[in-house]
């Protein structure tokens, strides 16, 4: 009997009436104002706007002029637990997620120690059951010690609730090792999430190889370091009939490799990160270490390709790759700084501001892609449907805010969108039937 895939700390089931909000759930075909009543943590009633009154003991949330969406699911976050709690922990990381409108996240295993054995996973899940504000799923390592040499005990880890496996932060360099993992997958299941990078091509690169890196004299990470590995791994997955998920796709050649594999029937999915959808290597000209992440911000042509791939479904979902680092770790010269940007608190607002408002992507598509990531790991998709557990986020699409001005819920502040004025703000998040976040300035009116 396998353990449940998601863990969070128990909290009170919500009894809330969200009145007159514009409810949008592309999967349910809902795109109109409604009253939505949540009773005992579940969606009890969806009714015409203004028709419902909060029952005894329930709160009324004024949704007038706001949007009620299915809450987002992030299949790629770094919660830095165990061992790196000066960057983030399960409490602060899931607070940041809830503040960004997420109702579930999947945590990466490149911690200290790495999550590569049953005792570590068990302890981590126990901690999540005490601290996590929203449900968290875990993807332990593919290889022991994340060294790429020997498989982890994937069967036991699956029994303990592993939703998949990944050596994220590092590629599985050996094609033979990936093949073994894909063979073993037939027995244990669990998607293999792959950080695709050929270290022989990326070398000591610290940013995208292109015009800007040539100018700055900073060693470049060529786009082909990602795309050649994707092509290789898709070929292996196709041969073994295995299932892979490509993390944080950043380059036009990578999109082509995934589209090609999909057209051949390979079971491959891909994710796009808000920073790759919005920013380019032009941002690195300032050598601001918040703009340093792996894979790096690439050219405008690459960015366009990622946007197009998200639109046409070549890339299946949005994933933040939320990667907190402490201030002193990032307050160093660019080449010395660790890779990573935080992203949970800004993902929706950044995409809304930079892609939805200019008309590049429809809001419904962004909502669909931001809620799709969990299903790739076997998790349930949040839906606004009567009888479902409430996983909802209420957003004000007109609210403007400056990133970082009021601080962050995350323990770290290395956000690539810091200082940007964004439009669209999460006001309330209900995750797994409980209120997980309320924006401070957002007043709730009792019944």
């Amino acid at each position: 009997m396998s353990a449940a895939p998601l863990v969070h700390r128990p909290s009170a089931a919500a009894d809330v009436l969200v009145s007159r909000a514009h409810v949008l759930d592309p999967r349910e075909g809902i795109d109109a104002p409604h009253d939505v009543l949540i009773r005992d943590g579940a969606i009890a009633e969806i009714a015409p706007p203004g028709s419902l009154e909060p029952p005894e003991g329930a709160e009324r949330v004024d949704g007038e002029g706001r949007h009620l969406l299915p809450a987002f699911v992030d299949p790629h976050v770094h919660l830095r637990t165990p061992g790196q709690k000066h960057k983030e922990d399960l409490d602060t990381g899931t607070r940041a997620a809830a503040a960004g409108g997420f109702c579930a996240v999947i945590a990466m295993p490149n911690t200290d120690p790495v999550v590569d054995s049953a005792p570590i996973l068990r302890a981590l899940r126990d901690e999540a059951a005490r601290e996590a504000r929203i449900p968290v799923g875990f993807t332990p390592c593919i290889t022991q010690g994340m060294d790429g040499a020997k498989l982890t005990e994937m069967a036991e880890l699956r029994d303990l609730g592993a939703v998949g496996f990944t050596d994220d932060g590092k590629p599985v360099v050996s094609a033979g090792m990936l093949r073994l993992a894909l063979q073993y997958q037939r027995m244990v299941g669990g998607v293999l999430a792959l950080h695709e990078e050929d270290p022989a091509l990326s070398g000591r690169g610290a940013m995208h190889e292109g015009v800007v890196s040539a100018m700055l004299g900073v060693s470049g990470i060529p786009s082909i370091s990602e795309s050649t590995m994707i092509a290789r791994d898709a070929a292996i997955a196709g041969y073994e009939g295995g299932r892979i998920h490509v993390q944080h796709v950043s380059a036009v050649e990578s999109v082509e490799a995934i589209a090609d594999a999909k057209s051949r029937g390979v079971q491959v999915t891909g994710e796009a990160s808000p920073h790759h959808l919005v920013l380019t290597d032009e941002e690195v000209r300032s050598l601001d270490t918040r703009m340093k992440m792996n894979p790096p911000l690439r050219s405008e042509r690459d960015r366009q390709a990622i946007v197009d791939a998200l639109r046409d479904g070549t890339l299946d979902c949005v994933a933040t790759d939320h990667a907190p680092h402490a201030r002193d770790e990032k307050e160093v010269p660019f080449e010395q700084a660790p890779m990573g940007t935080t992203g949970l608190e800004t993902a929706f607002a950044a995409l809304h501001t930079e892609l939805v408002l200019p008309g590049v992507l429809p809001l419904g598509l962004v909502v669909e892609r931001m809620t799709a990531g969990g299903a790739l790991f076997g998790l349930e998709v949040p839906r606004i449907e009567v009888g479902r557990e409430a996983n909802l986020t209420l957003v004000d699409l007109a609210a403007e805010w400056v990133v970082g001005e009021d601080g962050y819920e995350s323990r770290s502040e290395n956000c690539c969108f810091a200082g940007r004025r964004l439009t669209g703000r999460v006001l309330l998040t209900i995750a797994a039937g409980s209120v997980a976040y309320r924006q401070r300035a957002f007043a709730l009116t009792a019944a």
């Binding site: 190889e209 292109g210 015009v211 800007v212 890196s213 040539a214 100018m215 700055l216 004299g217 900073v218 060693s219 470049g220 060529p222 050598l287 002193d328 307050e331 160093v332 010269p333 660019f334 080449e335 010395q336």
Partner: protein, 322 residues
């Protein structure tokens, strides 16, 4: 008052400021030929040399420049210091800033570090080399050397030959030469030419077949630390195709090199010793140009902006009379 800096050619040096510094350097030239090689222009000012990379030549050039202007000089080298005990750049800069330097001249192996020093120190910052990014005083001394040799750079054809990939000198010089009106061609093996560099508006060649076109040949140092890496099959083959030697260098051409020279690799011994070579003039120019940079940062800032005003006050504050 906002502190002024010299961190990159790209941001900090337009043609006007380059010309101002070159002309100021010319006025310091005479000091080097005095018996007492010192003027009191920066008396009471403190110049801190903060060097995270081994450098005898650049550091001593900055030191000499500061001393000839009567500034107090503190040299801080990363080796044998708190840096080896694990102190961060930020903490080192905050600590040294407590000594209230007026100028910090900083060299590090990291692009952008001079900007961080400027952010943390409160002093004027001169970038003495940040990783493979920029080395603006080298570009200034090269422009100075060429202006003295050729009169002006307008229309000059300058070839920069060798390891452009790892060269901060190349990056700063491409920009400075272009801003002074020269056209720049880069030549070297494709493994040592960074992808995208042609976007700076320079020509890229993988041979020296048309080197005769050049008015100036600027050879880059083949850095020993690169030899272990697979950028080149052998140094022999590099020298065979890209060495500047007597057969390739025309008597009309000016030969430059940032030093230290690897004789027999990027340059043959004969051209180093030839009359076309201005390599020692570059070193000499380095001191007066750095004097000009320090003076311009500390005293130039006092003059109100605007050419007319500066012209009328310049005489009163002639550095040699100060």
């Amino acid at each position: 008052m906002t502190r002024r800096h010299l961190i990159s050619v790209e941001r900090d040096l337009d043609r006007e400021r380059i010309e101002r510094i070159v002309s100021l350097a010319g006025s310091f030239e005479e000091v080097a030929h005095r018996e007492i090689k010192k003027v009191p222009a920066l008396r009471g000012r403190t110049v801190l040399n903060l060097f995270y990379e081994a450098s005898t030549r650049t550091r001593s050039s900055f030191e000499l420049a500061a001393k000839r202007l009567s500034a107090d000089v503190v040299n801080f080298a990363a080796s044998g210091s708190s840096v080896e005990k694990g102190e961060s750049l930020k903490d080192t800069v905050l600590t040294l800033s407590a000594h209230k330097p007026d100028v910090v001249c900083v060299r590090t192996p990291w692009a952008g570090a001079a900007d961080l020093v400027a952010k943390w120190s409160g002093a004027s910052v001169v970038n003495a080399g940040d990783g493979k990014h920029e080395h603006p005083t080298q570009a200034l001394l090269d422009v100075y050397t060429l202006v003295r040799k050729l009169g002006a750079l307008d229309g000059a054809k300058i070839w920069i030959v060798g390891d452009v990939l790892h060269s901060r000198v190349a990056r700063s010089n491409i920009l400075a030469f272009q801003r002074m009106g020269a056209s720049v061609t880069l030549a070297g093996p494709p493994t040592l030419i960074p992808r995208g560099i042609e976007n700076l508006g320079c020509d890229v060649r993988y041979d020296l077949d048309e080197l005769r076109d050049a008015d100036v040949v600027y050879a880059l140092r083949m850095q020993n630390e690169r030899i272990d890496q697979p950028y080149l099959p052998t140094l022999r083959e590099y020298a065979e195709r890209f060495q500047i030697n007597g057969k390739r260098l025309h008597p009309r051409q000016v030969l430059m090199h940032p030093g230290p020279v690897n004789r027999g690799i990027e340059l043959s011994g004969e051209v180093v010793d030839s009359p076309q070579a201005v390599i020692t003039a570059q070193v000499e120019g380095g001191v007066v140009v750095r004097m000009a940079v320090l003076y311009e940062l500390l005293e130039g800032a006092r003059s109100p902006e605007g050419g007319g005003t500066r012209a009328t006050t310049a005489g009163a504050r002639d550095p040699q009379l100060a």
